[in-house]
């Protein structure tokens, strides 16, 4: 039985799990999780086998490619629209393989974790059904070889995210957050769908309208200037889709609110997998972007700006999950920056590492929240390290990883991004990135400090009840901690020409050629070493600063957590504005409310008024006026016979006159 034959199972198993659970899951009660979890387990196994074969080159060469190994399944016909035939097939190439690792692994762990986390929820079966639906959509997204199918998955993950954010449907806030997430995503999708339409038009101009990713990109590049729609437009439109899904700058507002959903959801969808879809999309379309440098710059700029914006907000948030959400935004910003500077591999690298440690952190935070009885405000936590050591330990690993302290995973990926940016002479990206690294370390350890160090600030009654989460939750944490710690060492070495590079080279070489990046050798004791040093220093600096402010008693750095320091610090004139800005997320939510609720609402109301009074009003007015006219004419009928007679006489006179005129003139 070949792997190709198994590929469809990657989709069918979660889909089946979803359908079964959705229709009859309610009956299974507390054992509703079995079918979905098993489905994902099998998926994981299949995926791992496939990935192994693909990355080791054991898989056959992809059709129409001389160096890329992978599997294809299909294609199956979908939309036969005249000369435009939209089929969909599945392809596993190295890029997809990397994504599969993250998606299936974290997906599996989150499923297992949820068994414990959701055990008391009435909607247990529903939750697992949704999770499987999401897994189906996400796998479809990474496996599809056709723009439109990707878009389908794109929307489906949006749907499952909507359902999962709104999972606790009785909460108004959840409902609003879910709606917000979906609508904001739709903004990006608008761009994406137009981009797809543009691709159709362009390929049609090339004489062979197609939406197959590989073919279409080749056609577009071959046509170059001859494209009816300029490539930069296409690229930016596609990028708009990526921005929506990956919550980049103008469209970043939905992600923090998405934390209304259950924590496993946040871990899986809003940290590890779905939000990475944008990165994947652009990596997938790398030649397209590589051929339009201006678009690349936009990507880099938006990415790095999102990174610093989110980081600055994360500094002051007090909701543990929101902090993580903003840090996710920030890290995604890094990835886009990487893509923008042409460091595709680095972006994917960071995508993978971030997937693991951010998933870990979220699950950990879930464990924390679980422990302190659904409390999310860090100001009412503290000193938890003594109560929930496993969670603490694992989260500590995650924090170090994200802070970029070697040799943990985050260090390798982040450092590669910064290095590539520097060497691609995008100095501003590098500079900002470096600063963001500082902030990252700071807010992560602020989180750790407020949560685990110092003394408990919540109600004492809870303190006694706090206990470590069940094994079904802690085991996934541990399993995630391992890659968070070691993934970098595993695939990040040797520096410069890492294993990952080897894997992804066939996917990206076309783009790198197009970009014609200066590929000088890696100098550990030269520029690269300096860069490493720089990033490590700032990371440590941030760590220490956070430690000073929120730290524990340790030797001569004896300093209990002193929030008043924070208050006094943030009261400083220069800082106070920044502090408030950060606290209020730079007022973006208020801006959106003003634009779309107040002003937009007024516009809509005005239009409705226009519809009622002007459009419909005109219609009714015509009718009314007709009747009025009728009533007026009716008055002629006075009931007096002699008025009638006079009318007749006058009519006669008029007719006589007109006849005299008509017949009088000579013909």
């Amino acid at each position: 039985m070949t792997i190709e034959a198994l590929l469809p199972l990657l989709l069918l198993l979660p889909l089946g799990g979803f359908l079964v659970t959705a229709f009859i899951g309610r009956r299974f009660g507390k054992s509703a999780h079995w079918i979905p979890v098993l489905a994902i387990l099998v998926v994981w196994i299949i995926a791992m086998v496939a990935v192994a074969n693909v990355l080791t080159g054991a898989a056959p060469l992809l059709p129409g490619s001389e160096d890329t190994h992978g599997y294809v399944a299909g294609p199956w016909a979908w939309i036969p629209a005249g000369d435009l035939h939209i089929d969909f097939g599945l392809v596993v190439d190295p890029l997809t393989a990397c994504l599969l690792i993250v998606v299936t692994t974290i997906g599996l762990l989150v499923h297992v974790y949820s068994i414990g986390y959701m055990s008391h929820d009435p909607g247990y079966w529903r939750f697992f059904a949704y999770l499987n639906l999401f897994m189906f959509s996400m796998l479809l997204l990474v496996l599809a070889d056709n723009w439109l199918v990707v878009f389908v998955a794109w929307e489906l993950v949006g749907l499952s995210s909507y359902l999962l954010i709104g999972f606790w449907y009785r909460k108004r806030s959840a409902q609003l957050a879910a709606k917000k997430a979906f609508i904001v995503n739709r903004v990006g999708d608008l761009g994406f769908v137009l981009g797809i339409a543009a691709i159709v038009v362009n390929t049609a101009a090339a004489g062979h309208p197609t939406l197959n990713v590989r073919e279409s990109i080749e056609l577009l590049l071959a046509q170059g200037e001859a494209n009816p729609i300029p490539l930069v437009v296409v690229a930016l439109l596609v990028f708009a889709g990526a921005m929506g899904k990956s919550a980049q700058f103008p469209l970043h507002v939905w992600l923090p609110d998405a934390m209304e959903g259950p924590t496993p959801v946040s871990a899986l969808i809003h940290a590890a997998t779905m939000v990475n879809a944008g990165v994947y999309l652009i990596a997938r379309a790398n030649p397209l972007f590589a051929s339009t440098p201006s678009a690349m710059v936009v990507v880099a700029a938006i990415g790095i700006f999102t990174a610093i914006l989110a980081a600055s907000i994360a500094m002051t948030q007090t909701d543990i999950k929101r902090v993580l959400a903003y840090s996710t935004l920030s890290q995604l910003g890094y990835m886009f920056a990487a893509l923008g500077v042409g460091a595709f591999t680095a972006a994917i690298f960071h995508l993978m590492t971030h997937g693991f440690f951010k998933g870990l952190l979220f699950l950990g935070s879930g464990s924390v929240i679980h422990a302190v009885h659904e409390e999310q405000d860090m100001r009412r936590m503290g000193g938890l390290s003594r109560k929930i050591p496993i969670t603490y330990a694992t989260m500590f690993v995650g924090s170090i990883a994200i802070a970029g302290i070697p040799p943990f995973a985050g260090f390798f990926s982040k450092d590669e991004i910064l290095g590539e940016a520097f060497k691609a002479s995008f100095y501003w990206v590098w500079g900002v990135g470096l600063f963001v690294a500082l902030l990252t370390a700071f807010y992560m350890f602020r989180l750790m400090g407020l949560t685990f160090w110092g003394s408990f600030r919540g109600p004492a009654a809870i303190w006694d009840k706090i206990h470590e989460s069940p094994r079904v939750m802690t085991v996934p944490l541990i399993l995630l901690a391992i890659p968070s710690a070691l993934l970098g060492l595993a695939i990040g070495l040797p520096l410069g020409s890492s294993v990952l590079h080897g894997w992804l080279e066939p996917v990206f070489h076309h783009a790198t050629e197009l970009l014609a990046l200066p590929h000088e050798s890696y100098e550990l004791f030269g520029v690269d070493g300096a860069l490493i040093l720089a990033s490590v220093t700032v990371a440590v600096a941030g760590l220490v600063a956070a430690w000073r402010l929120f730290g524990v008693d340790l030797g001569r750095f004896r300093a209990p957590a002193r929030p008043e320091d924070v208050r006094e610090l943030s009261a400083r004139p220069g800082l106070s504005f920044l502090y408030r800005a950060s606290l209020n997320k730079w007022w973006f939510d208020d801006l959106n409310h003003l634009l779309f609720i107040v002003i937009g609402g007024r516009i809509a109301a005005a239009m409705w008024w226009f519809d009622r009074e002007v459009v419909d009003g005109t219609v009714n007015a015509i009718g009314r006026q007709t009747v009025v006219a009728g009533r007026g004419l009716g008055r002629v009928q006075t009931g007096h016979v002699q008025n009638y007679a006079l009318g007749i006489a006058l009519g006669l006179i008029v007719i006589a006159g007109s006849y005299l005129i008509l017949t009088g003139g000579p013909r």
Binding site: Y169, L176, A605, D611
Partner: protein, 554 residues
């Protein structure tokens, strides 16, 4: 059996009429069963028709043509024929009809007999419109549709039903009467061009070929096209002529709304596609920009107005305006994808909006209220309803994998080829649609159960088997067409090619720019005058949006 032997089209058209007569004769106790029975029988026959048609004969159109001299003096014939487009719409009609008859099982409790009779006669008219190949015959069926609908809304409708139904009839009639003039003028000018012989003067095929080869005089084309267009645009309904729709939908009984949304609106689109464009290609090209602009306005405007509707049915009605905008848009860009998308959109809108109205009807049965604000938290009280409602809401929102998406996508692609800007505007509705749909869905289904619903207590039961049965076919088709749109597209390919060929044979006439300027100026002045008049009449300006804002999406 060989379908070509028996006059299957006549059968499928007039079987419901037989049903109506039988219902009229039989005692009232049997009414419902008999009516549904006949509807189902018609459905089966239409399926036979479809199956018989399917063996890939696209390209060459009009199967099963039945032809008989009717009013020989004018070459008016009784001529029926089916091509892919009409086949699809006929099956849609027969399906929706029995579905809505089932849906009326519980709601309609008074004067059942009259109700069923009206409904069956309505079906006759609808099917006839889709099958008629003689302009005169077409017009007759077209008008036949009016009366039963008038009764259905007017007798079994809501509180304000009489206003709604009279508005509906007068509005439609005003358009169609002008169309009659146009039809006669067309037939006559063919007769004049044909050496005074009336033979085939109203035969669609003859006229279309004539239009494709010789072509009608520009003056006639412009006049007749405008008349046809007015009639059809009112039916669709396109932007400035749409205001009868919300009223009619709101007041009509559930089944009435379903038929109205699923089939009636298609009459207009079908007419445009079948008659207006092929017969007057030059005029069609000349006015295409206008139609496109109107469609775009309808798409966006309908969605925006839907955003602030407090009434459930009104919201869906305005969403219909928005969706039907895609149909006209796709048709008048005259590209393959556009037209295919437009046809697909017709079918999908029929299924999806029909389903939405059914679900709203289910809710209304229990609450006797349609105010969105009053009802929240239905997920807790009617989980099954909530789930199905969600399905249709997302289908309506164009969720990929469900049928709604493909039509919209193809339309957008087809439009993009002509004008990216137009495509962008049309695609913008994705956001607005998500806005009003999720606003509706979120308010109804999520959050705590509202006091109003709690007050209903036991009345608020979940869907009963019949109601589920009505929704199953629609949902199934939505999924099937979403996964295999080819089922429809292959069926209608022939029609699409014909329309394209006909449209291709046309070229825009020269129009004096000053005419356009004058027209636009008049329009602007008129609207301004109206606004001024309204404001002067003290009927208040645009309302304060604060409330709306609170309701709308965050």
């Amino acid at each position: 059996m060989n379908l070509n032997d028996l006059p299957i089209l006549t059968v499928v058209t007039f079987l419901p009429l037989v049903g109506a007569i039988v219902v009229a004769i039989l005692p009232s106790s049997l009414t419902r069963q008999v009516a549904v029975g006949f509807a189902l029988a018609t459905w089966v026959v239409s399926l036979l028709l479809l199956i018989g048609y399917l063996p890939g004969r696209p390209g060459q159109q009009f199967q099963y043509v039945e032809q008989a001299d009717w009013i020989g003096v004018f070459g008016i014939q009784y001529k029926l024929g089916v091509d892919g487009l009409s086949a699809a719409l006929v099956v849609l009609t027969t399906t929706i009809t029995w579905v809505s008859l089932l849906a009326s099982w519980r709601p309609i409790q008074t004067r059942i007999k009259e109700y069923m009779i009206s409904f069956l006669i309505l079906e006759v008219g609808l099917i006839g419109v889709f099958l008629a190949l003689d302009l005169f015959l077409f017009y007759i069926f077209w008008e036949v549709v009016l009366v039963p609908m008038y009764l259905i809304i007017g007798i079994w409708g809501g509180a304000n039903r009489i206003y709604a139904t009279i508005k509906f009839v007068l509005y439609t009639l005003a358009g169609s009467l002008l169309m009659l003039v146009a039809i006669l003028a067309t037939g006559f000018s063919y007769q004049a061009a044909n050496g005074g012989s009336w033979v085939g003067a109203f035969d669609f095929v003859t006229l279309r070929d004539f239009a494709a080869t010789t072509g009608f005089a520009p003056a006639l084309q412009v006049g007749a096209f405008l008349a046809f267009f007015l009639a059809f645009a009112i039916k669709v309904p396109m932007f400035p002529f749409h205001t009868w729709l919300p009223d009619a939908h709101t007041e009509a009984p559930t089944a009435g709304s379903v038929i109205l949304a699923s089939i009636m609106l298609k009459l207009g689109a079908y007419g445009l596609m079948r008659f207006a464009v092929p017969l007057f290609p030059d005029a069609a090209h000349t006015f295409a920009p206008v139609v496109i602009v109107l469609s775009l306005i309808a798409i966006i405007y309908g969605a925006i107005v839907a955003l602030v509707q407090p009434d459930l049915k009104r919201l869906v009605a305005y969403s219909s305006v928005s969706h039907m905008g895609f149909v006209t848009l796709g048709l008048f860009v005259f590209t393959q994808q556009g037209i295919e998308g437009s046809i697909l959109q017709m079918v999908n809108h029929g299924l999806i909006t029909g389903g939405l109205f059914l679900l709203v009807g289910v809710l209304y049965e229990r609450t006797h209220d349609r105010t969105i604000a009053k009802m929240t938290g239905l997920a807790a009280r009617m989980p099954l309803w909530a789930a199905v409602f969600g399905f249709f809401v997302f289908a309506s929102g164009g969720l990929p994998g469900l049928s709604g998406f493909v039509g919209e996508f193809l339309t957008i692609v087809g439009t993009f080829a002509i004008s990216p800007a137009a495509a962008a505007i049309a695609a913008f509705v994705m956001i607005l649609a998500a806005g009003y749909l999720l606003y509706m869905y979120g308010r109804l289904v999520f959050e705590e159960v509202s006091d109003f619903l709690t007050g209903l207590g036991g009345h608020l039961t979940d869907m009963d088997p019949i109601e589920i049965l009505t929704l199953v076919p629609l949902a199934t088709l939505i999924v099937v067409f979403g996964l295999q749109p080819g089922l429809v597209l292959d069926l209608v390919r022939g029609s699409v090619d014909d329309t394209l060929r006909a449209a291709g044979s046309g070229a825009a006439l020269a129009i004096a720019p000053e005419l356009v300027i004058v027209a636009v100026a008049l329009l602007v002045v008129g609207v301004a005058a109206r606004i001024g008049w309204v404001l002067a009449a003290g009927r208040g300006g645009p309302p304060d949006a604060a409330l709306v804002g609170r309701e709308a999406a965050r």
